[in-house]
Symmetry: C2
Subunit: 306 residues, 2 copies
């Protein structure tokens, strides 16, 4: 049995599309050391995954035989080593049983699977969020509607520890590409000081009432041209339009009910406000805590059962 | 009085954001010569407008004193010479009366105004489409709901020759930035051979039934990951989703009724199909013909009344 000493039990990695995060964890899941970097999947393609992982482990002085558990995009097809999708309905406590061991590495590295939904017309995929959900289930949230905001925000219906269905909205990515590449670019650059709540809340309300997103996007530009005071609200309104569209989509798919929000920081604050505008109860869990907890749980299942 | 000879009566310019088009017109509006280029407003900023115009006139051997009538983005604030917006409701036959004469040019150059809508929450602007609408009015379409597709598609309600209200959707621009900058980029590059109609029509139907756009965008990626046959439909589906969202927005704003589509080529074909899927009658007018006709009408009003 592993004792809670300063000797790590495993390394746990949350390997996203654009970010990399690694923890050295003790036997009780306590964090002994931590690294974060921008070496997400995209930065590691086609073949820098092992090198990046080893560089961070070396920086922390990790033993050469320390096992590593990984969640996220490192397991995508064409990334480091494909961990094929499980399919909905999927038991979230069983992810570790489908972890894939990476070949030709000097240490034992396992990548947890993503989950896909093959329902015709609602095909969907996740890699990374299933690990957060399994962490929530392990903490006792066996049945809930979850919201996991991000570049590709997920809403997930979990019943009795089983992921029944989910829905992804391109919320964060649309915010990013509209900000950077559309006719709104200059406007949003200038507007970045103001993220005031009233324009954000109003935009959420409009989308919940069925306002058309692609028209509201151009309206940001027109309103700014006609009224400079409106220009300063553009970023807050864009955020509210996209998050409002997402919540409207989730209500359409899952109905109205309490939401467990898996987020942190400014993202958590914005979604808490928006979900409350929609009249739904919201309770927030820290996304990073859930990921780390789930990775530790999976690592225990893999390496302590043997 | 001007006779229909080969001596031009005026030059007419449609100066968009990304494209430039110039005609030498005879007294009856007949085209004597024509130039097109990619020297739209963006390519001419901050100060190449006169130089670009003169280069095209010189290439056609136009007289040094030939007057020029211009519609479009050359009249935007910060472009060549601002032609301030008229406001809705706006009489479309009266655009020429608000044309602005460009200062410090050796020839007489007039820029037609755009039109803005100051209605709170529905602020909107157009520059160029008002000229197409005035061309349609001049052809006898005094009352109609118009659809003018493009980077920023417009729907416009005209009654008795007066533009009452309009709605802009960022349809073309979203297609462009999602294709070029989102996670769908690679998929859409590979899929570009197929623009088959069934996937396009289905996507339009989904949006008319209220499907959530930002979720359907991610669904394109998920469906392609899970089923390579679906990948080839991605461009047709993306186009159908965005055009369907636009038509749904227009129906929400203007109700269901016959539509006059101002377009040409592939764009006209796609919108004709999509508008028919929505159960609306559609009659198509050539966008370029309307612009040229309206520019000629405005030129006659300006230079033949004196």
């Amino acid at each position: 049995m592993q004792k809670a000493t300063s000797a790590p039990f495993c390394a746990a990695v949350d390997w996203g599309t654009t970010n990399f995060r690694l923890w050295l964890l003790g036997g009780n899941g306590e964090t002994l050391a931590e690294r974060t970097s921008a070496e997400g999947m995209r930065a590691c393609l086609p073949d820098r995954f092992e090198q990046v992982l080893e560089s961070h482990l070396a920086a922390l002085g990790a033993p050469g035989d320390l096992p590593v558990i990984v969640a996220g995009m490192a397991g995508a097809r064409g990334a480091w080593c494909e961990a094929p999708y499980l399919e909905t309905p999927a038991r979230l406590s069983g992810l570790h049983a489908s972890a894939v061991r990476v070949g030709r590495t000097r240490r034992d590295v396992r990548i947890l699977p993503g989950i896909c939904q093959r329902r015709a017309g609602s095909e969907d995929v996740m890699r990374g969020e299933e690990t957060q959900l399994s962490g929530a289930v392990a903490e006792g949230l066996q049945s809930a509607l979850f919201c996991l905001p991000g570049t590709h925000s997920k809403w997930a219906r979990v019943e009795g520890g089983i992921l029944l269905s989910f829905l992804t909205c391109m919320t964060g990515e649309l915010f990013s590409i509209v900000s950077q590449h559309s006719v709104l670019h200059g406007l949003l650059q200038e507007a970045q000081e103001e993220t005031a709540m009233p324009p954000f809340r109003e935009a959420v309300e409009e989308m919940l009432a069925g306002a058309p997103l692609t028209a509201r996007l151009f309206n940001l530009r027109a309103a700014a041209l006609l009224d400079p005071a409106r220009a300063r609200q553009s970023r807050a309104r864009l955020s509210g339009l996209l998050i409002g569209a997402e919540i409207a989509a989730a209500i359409r798919e899952f109905g109205k009910g309490p939401v467990v929000l898996v987020a942190r920081g400014e993202t958590a604050a914005a979604y808490e406000t928006a979900i409350a505008v929609a009249g739904l109860e919201v309770a927030t869990r820290d996304a990073t805590d859930l990921t780390r907890g789930a990775l530790h749980g999976a690592a225990r299942s893999i390496w302590q059962e043997n």
